[in-house]
């Protein structure tokens, strides 16, 4: 590592911000890709990879991606749930790499849910 100046400290911090967002919380949006057997068989893996690539290319650090099991509607897999802080979660269905990229641009970045791919808004009733 070269000798640092006071300004460099902040730069290093910025550079690693994305990873520490994962560890400390404080993210703006969370995408859950449903990776049950059904999801994986229907191509959830490609959806996930495409999404990770998009996030990396956009260079943003406040969106986290996580996986979860089958969402229950196996017929419409791959499914993904997009949660923006302070907005109800939106479930998308029948996804592929192209669709998730569009969702990333429109919903996650611009804040407008993509109605044509959306399945439902909100959560199921929980006890």
């Amino acid at each position: 590592m070269p000798r640092l100046t006071v300004g460099d400290l902040q730069k290093i911090k910025e550079k690693h911000k994305a990873e520490f967002t994962l560890r400390e919380g404080g993210y703006r949006a969370k995408v859950t890709v449903h990776m049950g057997t059904c999801g994986i068989a229907a191509g959830a893996r490609e959806v996930m990879t495409a999404l990770l690539d998009e996030i990396a290319n956009a260079g943003i650090d406040d969106v986290i991606v996580t996986t979860s099991g089958c969402a229950g509607l196996c017929a419409r897999e791959p499914l993904a749930t997009v949660e923006i802080i302070n907005a109800p979660p939106v479930k998308y269905c029948d996804l592929n790499a192209e669709k998730i990229k569009e969702i990333f641009r429109e919903h996650i970045m611009a804040g407008n849910p993509v109605e044509k791919y959306a399945l439902v808004v909100g959560c199921e009733t929980m006890y």
């Binding site: 590592m1 070269p2 000798r3 640092l4 100046t5 006071v6 400290l9 902040q10 290093i12 911090k13 550079k15 690693h16 911000k17 994305a18 990873e19 520490f20 967002t21 994962l22 560890r23 400390e24 919380g25 993210y27 969370k30 859950t32 890709v33 449903h34 990776m35 049950g36 057997t37 994986i40 990770l52 690539d53 996030i55 990396a56 290319n57 260079g59 986290i64 991606v65 996580t66 996986t67 979860s68 099991g69």
Partner: protein, 620 residues
Amino acid sequence: MEKVRTNLMLCAGTGCVASGTAKVKDALQKELEKRGLEKEIKIVLTGCNGYCAEGPVMAVYPDEIFYQKLTVEDVPKLVEEHFLKGRPYQKLMFKEPEKKTAIPMMKEIPFFKHQVLRVLRNKGLIDPEKIEEYISRDGYQAAAKALTQMTQEDIIKVIKDSGLRGRGGAGFPTGLKWDFASKVKSDIKYMLCNGDEGDPGAFMDRSVMESDPHSVIEGMIIGAKAIEAHSGYIYVRAEYPLAVKRLHLAIDQATEAGLLGKNILDTGFDFELEIYLGAGAFVCGEETALMRSIEGKRGMPRPRPPFPAHKGLWDKPSVLNNVETLAQIAPIILNGSEWYRSLGTEKSTGTKVFALTGAVNNVGLVEVPMGIPLRTIIYDIGGGIRKGRKFKAVQLGGPSGGCIPEHLLHTPVTYEDIVATGAIVGSGGMVVMDENTCMVGTAKFFLEFTTDESCGKCPPCRVGTKILMDMLTDITEGRGKESDIETLEDLGRDIIATSLCGLGQTAPNPILTTIKYFRDEYESHIKHKWCKAGVCRELTTFLIDEKLCKGCGACLRACPSKAITGEKKMPHKIIQDLCVHCRTCYDACKFKSIKILPAKFQGDPAELEAVLEKSKREAE
């Protein structure tokens, strides 16, 4: 570009390494590669997470799932379930010992919930071997602020106002220490760090040095600026190999990055830092002995004054701060003294790290606001006493401290309140003892330690501790005299009054506090030759209460000397000539049918109840 979606914070502290972190890491790496996940899921080796009893432990972010007791065999299933399919793997998740249900979220685990992390702010969150990770968590920002925007007086004022007191044990105000040294004129001064942690059962400083070495270095840079020192040493015992390795690495990285050495951060300030390895002598934690040891001489204390602020290392003005104290400095500089004072009490501000060990369910490293009651630490964070046993005492302050009984568990953890009980906060060792502990034996254990570690320079400590030790040995082996208790107290007070350094001045504390709170145990050892906890072998007779014995055979199978006989479902008997008084049967019996009686008990076993009843009345 690659996007990392998950961080696996695998603990690589000494405790978890001993229980197999390296193998688990290799297995995880291999399994992630096999599943093609190695680029999006990153393994980070962290310092001690604090939850050592259940290691190896791993926290998964952003999911905030906490796994414990990882094994190589579990890895394939864990990777498949959680990291591939997104289903947290229940089997390895944290379970509260009392409930047995899996509680996955870290912030819901009582052990973590009650803690406030300042010293341990980076525990389990960064890789201690990478300076970038420390910098990413505001690392060296405080040093930069101190070097560019603050005068010596500014720094000393903030630390004074914060109320920070030395975490090594004595609790001397850190700001005041720095102030003294800064006012002495000298071309050479030294900034020193005391990493000679030596209390049995204490591992706070080791953990900080292992999991966040840069926080100590940063504190030293700020202290060096405050007193105008340009060189310093970290004194750390050679028995802490991992801490030594990570400190070396951290110093090398900081030097390369221009954070140590000449012209730090281009501010014109110089500070050279070296590590000095100690040989693990307890007395070298005393400041004057430590400085002599760095000078290459035999580690022995000398009378003060002159105090180190005037004549310290090589007779130059020096400041010696404990590891934990130094790790508190950077956040105080960044956030201000008011922020620091927002936790704790008026005179004991901020947080304190404790090494919680002994008979509690959750053994580990905890950081709590000062002023929190002992009960909260032991029962909420510590999860109560193991195996549902009864609490007896908590030992604070190691060999210099004392035992605090149950009726004082409401005592807030502050320097003043703990001293009022006869114990000391000390460096933070907290050993919890259950009903099966003999308090005379406990005092003897700590005395054995101080007798061994006494450097021998002053007679009160050298000779006095030996006499105390001999008397305790006599009491635990059945040769105690009625006058012994008074002699122990008198001699103890004399040793405290006349010893040269802190070692002798505190060595009798374990005896004095156990006499104060558990006098009946001393009396029962001396008068009735009866160790009711069944620990002192010469002072016990083990008998089976035939009315309670179900004849299950558990004791018979457990007895190492085949001293128990009996048919199935018939009351068993202990053959006294063969019994070695090891107490194994007592622990094995599920029906509490094994009774501990005085040495050479000759009475009729039928009179057991009467004898026990009588002793109970006497105790009351």
